[in-house]
């Protein structure tokens, strides 16, 4: 997994509540495409017109937002389906951080599995970031520092954010969770043995 430490990048405001994972990636795209090929299909129904040409008014089609690595969003970003392709498509597009007041819980977990940082900040702070970004026509960069747990606005206003230490460590080191858990073999095996004794019916007919 790619590490996340620091980032200073163009930030695209998509300030809509309840952006669900169906909006991020259409169900048809889950069928045949590998994760790294999903970039062109992120927000497909907003990015393209029915004839397949780009919708010029959609933020990710406008310079400089085409090069955005950060999304500024409203409440409950990534709600809905558990499809991890929502994270894959954002990542393949180039997004490395989403800043929103709250996230869909499964999307939130999926981000950490893929090196994408979800940052929860109060809506007022995000609205200020959007105002500054828009005042600079999008050229003003938003900086995220995961070591210091801060977000810095284009004008230099610093806001701290909270993140679970375990999640933070994992992103900073880019470590693979499966390998890490396999390292706990002793604990897992001991638990399994005890569980079979405590709750034998779970293992009886299954």
């Amino acid at each position: 997994m790619e590490k996340f430490t620091k980032l200073a990048a163009i930030a695209a405001p998509i300030m809509r509540q309840n952006i669900d994972t169906d909006m991020v990636i259409r169900v048809e795209r889950l069928r045949d495409l590998p994760p790294e090929k999903l970039g062109p299909y992120a927000f497909e129904s907003w990015r393209y017109k029915p004839d397949g040409s780009e919708a010029p008014e959609f933020v990710l089609n406008r310079p400089p937002y085409r090069d955005a690595k950060v999304i500024l969003a409203a409440d409950n970003f990534g709600c809905g389906s558990s499809r991890e392709a929502a994270v894959w498509s954002l990542f393949a597009f180039g997004i490395r951080c989403v800043i929103a007041p709250s996230f869909g819980p499964i999307f939130y977990n999926n981000c950490f599995q893929n090196g994408l940082l979800p940052v929860a900040l109060p809506l007022e702070v995000i609205e200020e970031l959007v105002a500054e970004v828009e005042a600079s026509q999008g050229t003003g960069k938003v900086s995220i520092d995961l070591e210091a747990c801060t977000v810095t606005s284009p004008s230099g206003k610093v806001t701290s954010f909270k993140i679970d230490p375990l999640r933070r460590e994992a992103l900073l080191s880019g470590q693979d969770q499966i390998e890490q858990t396999r390292g706990r073999e002793k604990e897992i095996a001991a638990f399994e043995q005890g569980d079979r004794q405590r709750f034998p019916w779970l293992y009886q007919s299954a």
Binding site: D164, I188, L202
Partner: protein
């Protein structure tokens, strides 16, 4: 010391190791897989990770299967490769798979309880957000992403953060025509789609106690639409009566041991929840959604809300966009809106009682002209039971299509779609933009309300039929 919640009791017995900061390595006692799981199985196989505990893993085919009457392995050929790779990966990994045409095949959240694979007190996961459904059996059940599926397959465990707890207490008696679906849609209308975010949500109260297991599964199914990835109902005599004798339920002496243990699970009377909501059930009428989020919901007797009536400008914009997409006018009564399609199915409402209810309404009536109405049973077993009761004949005589089990038009992944611009009343759980097909307009409701819409050709109050 305050008492413990049901959630605390189940969570604690699955902790392998505390990892600090509220995180723990959790043992997974049931892992369910659907036909989207082939990728994770293949990824793990290539890395040399074996499935750690195949006895605790159950798989079926649901999302990509055709539901055409008389389907064969070759129906809808664009998906055959996907289904074949699931078959192949399950075989290589030694995972038991309930395939098309066998009892046990069906929507994963329908077959888990039906097989008795879903048991009270378990820690159950599946790579699908509606895994919360299984909470209706009195377990901790939630959806995970594809990377987490790989992790569970390889290690039979998952790193999770302990959520806070919330209790929604539904007291009172359900009015005639009001079902579990109405209870949960009403709750989402009250607390919003992020109202349960960060919580494990316990449904309690006299109205929940009186719900049959199928209704509890419907209720828990929509927990994720309230923002809670985990939702559950404490197990009780109703649960045990439902489970006893099911193929994978404990047998003999083990059954007695299990029930004795399950009786200790319900929340202690003095348990404290981080958030409490109370709902007076007597006030709830049949519900129907009008917009593109499950929180866009009204009673069928109400009018479509006016965006100007809310203060929050973001909400206002979302409401207006929803009205435009749905082709509806603020202030108009929702009842009487003409309908083109009706879908009775999905992991929310495709169980035998749902089909019985639709058939009871359909008997002696006809689907209105111009309406296409589908009934898609949730599993092969339900299909066979319904046919044994003659429900398929009642439905087809009334003009409904009786189809094969699968997810179907709930998410239109298998090609079953509502055409663009058409209005559908659906018993599923998501009315998102394009969920039932690009441009499709979805209204969520109970099977009774969906049947009423099919028979009258408009959104109608089932109580007036």
């Amino acid at each position: 010391m305050a008492g413990r919640t049901l959630f605390d009791k189940i969570w604690d017995r699955h902790v392998i190791q505390e990892l600090g900061g509220g995180y723990a390595l959790m043992h997974v006692s049931r892992h369910l897989m659907h036909d989207g799981g082939a990728a994770a199985l293949e990824r793990n196989r290539k890395k040399g990770y074996k499935v750690r505990d195949t006895a605790l893993t159950f798989a079926t085919m649901d999302h990509a299967v055709s539901t055409e009457p008389g389907r064969t392995a070759a129906t809808r050929s664009q998906f055959v490769a996907r289904l074949d790779s699931m078959r192949e990966e399950c075989k290589l990994a030694g995972v038991r798979l309930f395939d098309i045409g066998e009892p046990g095949q069906g929507i994963i959240h329908v077959i888990g309880p039906e097989l008795g694979a879903t048991l009270p007190g378990t820690f159950l996961v599946c790579g699908d957000s509606h895994t919360c459904t299984h909470g209706g059996m009195g377990c901790i059940a939630f959806g995970i992403g594809s990377s987490e599926v790989s992790h569970v397959l390889a290690t039979q465990s998952l790193v999770q953060r302990r959520p806070q707890t919330m209790r929604a207490t539904f007291d009172g008696t359900l009015a005639p025509g009001v079902r579990a679906k109405d209870l949960i849609l009403y709750l989402i209308g009250q607390i919003g789609t992020a109202g349960g975010t960060g919580y494990a949500l316990e449904y309690a109260g006299s109205a929940i106690r009186s719900l049959p297991v199928e209704g509890r599964l419907t209720l828990c199914n929509l927990s994720i639409e309230a923002g809670a990835k985990i939702g559950f109902v404490a197990p009780d005599e109703t649960t045990y009566a439902f489970l006893k004798g099911r193929p994978f339920a404990p047998k003999g002496e083990m059954w007695d041991k299990a029930v004795a243990d399950w009786r200790t699970l319900p929340s202690d009377p003095d348990a404290v929840f981080d958030r409490e909501v109370k709902i007076d059930v007597a006030r709830i009428a049949p519900q129907i959604t009008w917009g593109t989020s499950p929180e866009h919901v009204v009673a069928v007797t109400e009018r479509i809300p006016d965006p100007k009536s809310v203060a929050d400008p973001d909400k206002q914009r979302a409401m207006q966009a929803a009205l435009d997409y749905m082709g509806l006018k603020a202030g108009a009564p929702i009842a009487g809106t003409p309908v083109d399609w009706v879908f009775i199915g999905s992991c929310t409402n495709s169980r035998l009682s749902d089909i019985q209810e639709a058939a009871a309404l359909a008997k002696g009536r006809k689907v209105a002209a111009g309406v296409t109405a589908w009934v898609v049973p949730g599993s092969e077993t339900i299909k066979r039971q319904a046919e044994a009761e003659g429900l398929d004949r009642v439905l087809t005589e009334a003009g409904f299509q009786w189809r094969e089990p699968g997810c179907s038009m709930c998410l239109a992944f298998n090609g079953d779609r509502v055409p663009p611009g058409k209005r559908s009343v659906s018993t599923s759980n998501r009315n998102f933009v394009g969920r039932q097909g690009p441009g499709a307009r979805t209204h969520l409701a109970s099977p009774a309300m969906a049947a009423a819409a099919a028979l009258t050709g408009t959104i109608s109050d089932v109580r007036s039929l």
